[in-house]
Symmetry: C3
């Protein structure tokens, strides 16, 4: 087991902001490219990072609809934690990233998948936020609880909470 420990990184993504998501995936892809096994666990607002874009919710219980209405963030549309300026901040960051030849979030998620990074979505938080597996992007590998996360984290050397 000791050998495994030295090869594993877990990253809990609890924030739904674009910059935090970028940081999470940059750290994940870099660790994966170093040959580490990387497991990301998306929970609470972090679920927005791996949520499909979709229209206004027209069906379902009223509170679920209200909640989905106010929380329309998704993989294509996440706010910055600072300097959001109605999306201008994100635009500038993306331009800077293109300039710096750093991949944007979508490309990073794709890259992470190709590098074998595992994406886990927290079932309890999904239930809380009224999300089903159909609401999530294809890349999600597994729907799991926090106990699954801890099983992996106890077997990992580096455990980050973003």
């Amino acid at each position: 087991m000791a050998d495994n420990v030295d090869d594993k990184v877990t990253i809990v993504v609890c924030s739904g902001e674009y910059d935090k998501a970028l940081a999470a995936f940059l750290f994940a892809t870099i660790a994966a490219s170093m040959g580490k096994e990387v497991i990301m666990f998306f929970t609470f607002w972090g679920l927005n990072v791996v949520k499909k874009p979709k229209g206004f919710p027209r069906t379902g219980p009223i509170f679920k609809r209200i909640f989905n209405l106010i929380n329309r963030d998704n993989v294509n549309h996440l706010p910055l934690s600072r300097f959001n300026f109605m999306g201008l901040g994100r635009l500038i960051i993306n331009l800077r990233m293109r300039k710096s030849k750093v991949a944007n979030l979508q490309q990073l998620i794709e890259m992470a998948r190709e590098l074998g990074v595992k994406l886990l979505a927290c079932t309890m938080a999904m239930d809380l936020m009224g999300l089903t597996p159909e609401d999530m992007i294809e890349g999600v590998d597994e729907y799991a609880g926090a106990s699954t996360y801890f099983d992996i984290a106890f077997d990992s050397r580096v455990n980050l909470f973003i």
Copy 2:
């Protein structure tokens, strides 16, 4: 010592938002129910999570009173990090939690205590924020410095900073 390491989780709670506090206690209770020893260390705004509700401060040094006036958050009243809407967001989350049969924050704190999760409040941050042990909820087990936290963290496998 190696055996202990595999059984311990520390969670630093540095944020005073309702959703972050929920995440912290959900992770803590789940780890505790898996038989892990869980130690939570509340510091900075995280102290609000284990602070008693109280009225306007009428005594004490002026800056302490101003600070307590602007920082009136407590275990019963914490903002969301996103979609706060003057408390509406929290209301909806609580309704969703009831629906999903997830315990609310107060119940989670109670549950954490019953499961033996240890709650430590950071003495230095308490001093900084003008808080005394009397300001904190009953569940706090110990008042300790960051050095106590590190002693425990160095003996733990999973160390999260929320």
Copy 3:
């Protein structure tokens, strides 16, 4: 290697808020004063914590200038994550810190350096934010990528992400 592991702490500073920076440096200096080897890795907004104050950018590519214009935070000027009130919150915290004889951020950075805490600035995030080593404070020991961070983190017992 096992011996080293028990002596090392890494702290990723991904947030550029005054309170988060304070927490990071308080944890860092306390761990260092306990004889631990402490390595801080500044990335994204966390770079603002170790950025020199400077005037309005007058040269360079337009997007870099706009970005630097909206992101004028630096080691002397960081917002609070809560209760900022145009700097009043920070003023009160600093007054409380003086009262409590806790060092302020500048003193803490100085103290961290004296205690041998290593400050690493993330080169990729610097590139993204249009920053060069000249923009950073003197205390920065090394400019490194996330892979350097992981090399150290895999060799450390406590890894915090702030």
